[in-house]
Symmetry: C2
Subunit: 222 residues, 2 copies
């Protein structure tokens, strides 16, 4: 009985890692689709999100089943409840990757991101993927230091987000309003995506240490 129970907890954790891997690769592919105006890739990212949604629903049902059947207390109870929150973060991150892909699709065959912002957007995409890979690692390793380190890496995302806005607001901006709006939204999608990755790591830190990491505002400059 107890063994089946710990297997159940382990399988919930496996699903969180799978979700993180899926949305990490979704944001990476969506970034490529966006920068290269690759319609087929965009479509594949958009349809792949269903798998993430299914995993989340399934994880939720199993978490509730564990609560009902096993009635965990103390740490185990917190693990189950926190996994619900982590899965909600990951599902939402998947939606954001999908939004990036949908923008690529909407502007196809044009490229939504002008040449002078490609490098910044590419870095945001790579950083988003890396943060999500780190989140998956932290779920596996329960490594508090690695979790806290992610807060610092996320600072770089905020910096990139700010850079994108400064660029848009510059008087020399010459790509028009539509592109400015596209880029502003994309910037926000990456920033939010990174925030969900950091939130997953924060959940692990909380589980291990019992202490809440102070949440930073979602975007300090708006």
């Amino acid at each position: 009985m107890r063994e089946a129970y710990h297997e159940e907890l382990a399988s919930i954790s496996d699903d969180l890692v799978e979700m993180a891997n899926l949305v990490g690769s979704a944001i990476s592919l969506a970034t490529t689709a966006l920068l290269d105006a690759d319609l087929q890739l965009a479509e594949s990212v958009i349809s792949a999100d269903e798998r993430v949604d299914d995993l989340q629903r399934d994880l939720e049902n199993r978490a509730i089943a564990v609560l009902a059947r096993q009635q965990p207390v103390a740490t185990d109870l917190r693990i189950v409840v926190t996994s619900l929150r982590m899965s909600a973060d990951l599902e939402r991150a998947g939606d954001l990757a999908q939004h990036v892909a949908k923008l690529a699709r909407m502007r196809y065959p044009e490229r939504a991101v002008p040449r002078d912002l490609r490098r910044t957007v590419l870095e945001m995409g790579q950083l988003a993927q890396r943060l999500m890979a780190q989140a998956a690692e932290v779920v596996i390793s329960q490594d508090v230091d690695a979790g806290l380190q992610m807060e610092k890496d996320d600072d770089r995302m905020d910096e990139l987000h700010r850079m994108v806005f400064q660029h848009l607001m510059d008087e020399k901006w010459q790509h028009g309003v539509e592109t400015a709006v596209d880029v502003a939204l994309v910037g926000r999608y990456y920033e939010r995506f990174a925030d969900h990755a950091v939130s997953v790591a924060r959940c692990v830190v909380f589980l291990v240490t019992g202490e809440h990491v102070d949440e930073l505002p979602a975007d300090g400059f708006t």
Copy 2:
């Protein structure tokens, strides 16, 4: 013992209603601050969000305490787990109201929203508040029909969101890039806020009927 338990469940529900009322009034005040460039009002919305965050943290701790001490099963278990999700929606909606207020503050003494979009933004703000008031009502009444009706009211928000975008993208747009980006983000804040209100109602519908309402994509046109 059982009575204390049901009191605990009722108090969790009371807190959800209080959170919904707070964020409903926050979005309304933030809209006024935004449209009137009222700095003092914006500041008060920004600092009031702390109360919502406190309520959420407190609710979470009590929900976990109920799970540990009372070990609810079946419907009671679902009520507790779903209240965690509803409180996360409400906390996030509070952040979005705060984002609207922060934009008002950032542009002060200018007005972030140009004259020709004031009416649309005002309607978005009023609709956002109304949807949140309805969500609070649905939490109290557990009225499935009222919950489902909110999906239709939310369609109007999506329509307004689309109108804002069409307006921005119009060749006749003459307010420049900065204002376009501001308005695009504000449009998204309202749309997301409404989505969180609808999500709260969906949780109630699920609790009462046991059936998931199919979630619509967060924004169908990006």
